[in-house]
Symmetry: C2
Subunit: 522 residues, 2 copies
């Protein structure tokens, strides 16, 4: 049986979603490019993220910083010393392996965060050998994961996270935004990590995109948030360190979570969960927050919970982001190394702001919705493959399809495309091939709705809207189409938009093999 | 007198448009970051570009490729061998200079494209010394401008242009888009050049953004374009090599230009000019195409014209983009080095597609509109500084300002902000400080309109809309506001939207010191 991961990769390549970068040269490990369908999905994810997270507070802004930064930035942040991977080399074939991953491939458990000495000991004790040639492994050493670059004659690095751009920009942005806290600085852009063993398609790349929001705030205020009451009874989906063994996710109200975690932190946990469940409309059971143990936490974080999504083709829950209370680690570090005073005066006090970081791996998130949306089912005798993407992330809001390319249907369809485009919608137009084949093409790239123009459209001004997931079709007056499409994208079921059409059955899809997105606020 | 360049830099820093990257560490030469206002302007430019250029043809798409590519890509493209700068080192202080720029700083003319030998000769003949210490310069050598990176254990480079990503993706995208030509692949993203002497703010950076569209087409079709007749009488603003001495820009119809240049090429020149003059609404006299001489042309281009804008603070016309007929240089190069057959079958023929490249430096374009929009004028006794940005590039479509923070005006203003935001507009809200001061703040960041909520709004439901450039105010019913704002953004003058309000004069601005954008199609 073909693995789901490989099926997704195949469809991604064939339909222009993603593929190995520079593949005519055999590709580069850990590098993928997005084709034009993937780019549309990624842009929609980014714009949905921007709109939602920047909309949380009038003092949250996006900035755009260079990917290359001078070495001192990363001395101050700790990355030069601490952003390292444990590696071990085979004495026989010279192959390099990440030591913790090598141990993990043989023994049960997670070995991230162990020291080189501890890892060497495990390798010796369990006689772990080179996975390529069976040779003996050398002592475990460490390798910095940043890419060094010479900028003119100065040493710099490609940023391993977007965050540092926001920290070094804080003094200026604090002035520009008239010295108000909390101040949020978001960066959407590239980050670079020279992974020893990149793997799992878009999940662990060497060059990837992040969407990160750094919230600078007065640490005295950490135990409250002005809107906490609004979410106080909202249940978070929590996997704490204690419940990790059982694997059971607990639904716990924000109020109860805030016994252990500060309210300012818990408030943003709720906002993150609402982004996934309400804005994207993912099924709750696919989402959880996972508490990290003291050994697993990044060195700069006081509280550190991962945002995890259940990605079937990657064996279950995987980290797609995190919420990190970084304290004053970064600003104090930059103050020390640069000599620039990072103290501010605020509320009659002098202090260095603390930082709450909301961090998201864009490519991982895109892969997660591809995985969740990927459904194969039998429709009559034929197999149908669908990407049940959240409607907000559909590469096109709809496809406009003339039934045939004559009798005025194509002209009418082009006119409808124009109207919908003018109404701000992303519309695909396709007039070649049988209508069934065109439906299947749209299903495979996740287009949420097909609008079909047929002889009834010419005669009586009605079009059909076909729902990607249910294949149900409804009749809509063409002059109402833009308004109805807007409702549809925001999550209305097709049935509520017009009278059902009895169509030659595409046959009922197996509704158990996937799920339907329902509640997409926009 | 303070130079305009320095004034723009000052306001950019103070208002959150751009500043030296990592400036708390003293900055890095050739690196600027965008603050949140600059980021909004840049995003608007990018989205305006996307909408217009991808809208030119249903077969034009955006893709998203890695910034790092393997060395073979750049061997094939010629960049490893030919993407070099002539440099010379001072024997005394060790300072490195770009040899052609050094010569240019002493002698009249443009010395790009001269060989190291020719440059050495000029330096010797004219006894040109080190500009820093007066020392003697060494023989001119060459330095590759690409940033090398080790990806795992493989050599790669950060791309010096986005284009190569589109070329190596061509075979896949050609399949995905069902083998139709012309096929357009656009990339908006970072490019990296290790400039010896980066300078002029956003104009020559080491890490910058490009918007490039590669159009793959059948070379047999180069002498026509299906829509050529529509622009046949449209006048292009042309500075040919022949007229360069006189500096006179000629307005020549596309039909006449197509005597010398292929129609497919001329058609896209017209589309580019329309982007600047019709979509952005720049004054025609600020725009021209500049023909490059054989010596100046990039090595891979058969036809190569620069897109130039008149940037006053940079001493006049500067390159902000180009239109390049790259022939089959790139695809043939990749075929040779990778072994992948780049031939396609199309229209019953086998051939390697040719490429027309439309290339734009995003940062240069952003700087150009900042420069063109920057106006200082006396209003009564006070100086007013305005950024007369094209309305389509305004960081916010409007600001909503309650006259005072009481009597229900603030609540009403917030309600209006919500309505406008729901109608898809980018709205800034500000309720602190005197109304005059708030107007000036919005003027300085180029916000196209201020909507003021006063006691009349509460009493009779009217707001005032204040035009940034003319300072004229008109009365508008609040329920009509979203529709009228849409007209305003698309270029309608404020006067046509409502009755003029007689206001305590902000005094007439000096209308000669700038220009007003008029015709912004959207």
């Amino acid at each position: 049986m073909v693995k789901k991961e490989n099926k997704i990769e195949e469809i991604a390549r064939r339909r222009g979603i993603f593929w190995t970068s520079s593949d005519i040269y055999g590709g580069v490990s850990g590098m993928y490019d997005y084709g034009h369908i993937g780019t549309l999905i990624k842009r929609k994810w980014e714009n949905t993220w921007r709109k939602y997270f920047l909309g949380l507070n009038g003092n949250f802004f996006e900035i755009d910083c260079r990917n290359m930064m001078p070495d001192k930035v990363f001395k101050a942040s700790g990355h030069v010393d601490s952003f390292v991977d444990p590696i071990t080399k085979c004495r026989k074939c010279g192959g390099i392996e990440r030591a913790d991953h090598l141990v993990e491939s043989i023994l049960e458990g997670n070995f991230e965060g162990l020291s080189p000495g501890e890892l060497t000991k495990l390798i010796r004790e369990h006689r772990i050998k080179c996975p390529k040639c069976g040779g003996e492994m050398e002592e475990v050493g460490i390798l910095n994961m940043m890419f060094p670059v010479m900028i003119g004659s100065s040493l710099g690095y490609l940023r391993p996270e977007t965050a540092q751009g926001a920290y070094v920009s804080f003094p200026r942005e604090f002035e520009v935004s008239r010295k108000r806290l909390p101040l949020g600085l978001a960066i959407l852009g590239r980050a670079y990590r020279n992974e020893i063993s990149p793997r799992n398609l878009l999940i662990r790349m060497r060059e990837f995109d992040q969407a990160e929001l750094q919230i600078f705030f007065n640490p005295d205020m950490i135990n409250d948030h002005e809107s906490f009451n609004e979410i106080s009874l909202y249940n978070l989906r929590i996997l704490s360190v204690d419940s990790r063994k059982s694997g059971i996710v607990h639904e716990i109200s924000c109020k109860d979570v805030s016994v252990k975690l500060p309210k300012f932190y818990v408030y943003y946990m709720a906002m993150i969960q609402k982004f996934y469940l309400d804005v994207l409309g993912l099924p709750p059971e696919k989402f959880r927050f996972r508490e990290l143990s003291d050994e697993e936490k990044a060195f700069y974080n006081k509280y550190h919970w991962d945002i995890e999504l259940d990605i079937e083709s990657m064996d279950g829950f995987r980290e797609v982001g995190g919420i990190h209370y970084r304290t004053d680690h970064d600003l104090a570090g930059h103050q020390k190394v640069s000599g620039r005073d990072m103290d501010i005066f605020h509320d009659g006090k002098k202090f260095i702001p603390h930082v709450l970081e909301l961090s998201f791996g864009i490519d991982r998130n895109v892969y997660a919705v591809l995985d969740m949306g990927f459904v194969e089912e039998m429709v009559g005798q034929e197999e149908r493959t669908t990407l049940r993407l959240p409607r907000a992330l559909s590469p096109f809001d709809c496809a406009v399809l003339p039934l045939v390319k004559r009798d005025g249907m194509d002209a009418k369809a082009l006119e409808i495309r124009k109207t919908l485009t003018a109404a701000g919608m992303d519309v695909f137009y396709d007039d070649s091939g049988s209508i069934g084949r065109r439906y299947r093409r749209m299903d495979e790239i996740g287009v949420a709705a097909c609008i079909t123009v047929d002889s009834d459209t010419i005669a009586s001004g009605t079009v059909t809207l076909r729902d990607r997931d249910t294949m149900k079709q409804v009749l809509i007056k063409d002059r109402d189409l833009a308004g109805k499409m807007r409702l549809y994208i925001s999550g209305e079921p097709a049935e509520s938009l017009g009278n059902a059409v009895i169509v030659k059955p595409e046959k009922n899809p197996d509704m158990n093999s996937g799920f339907t997105y329902s509640a997409q606020g926009k």
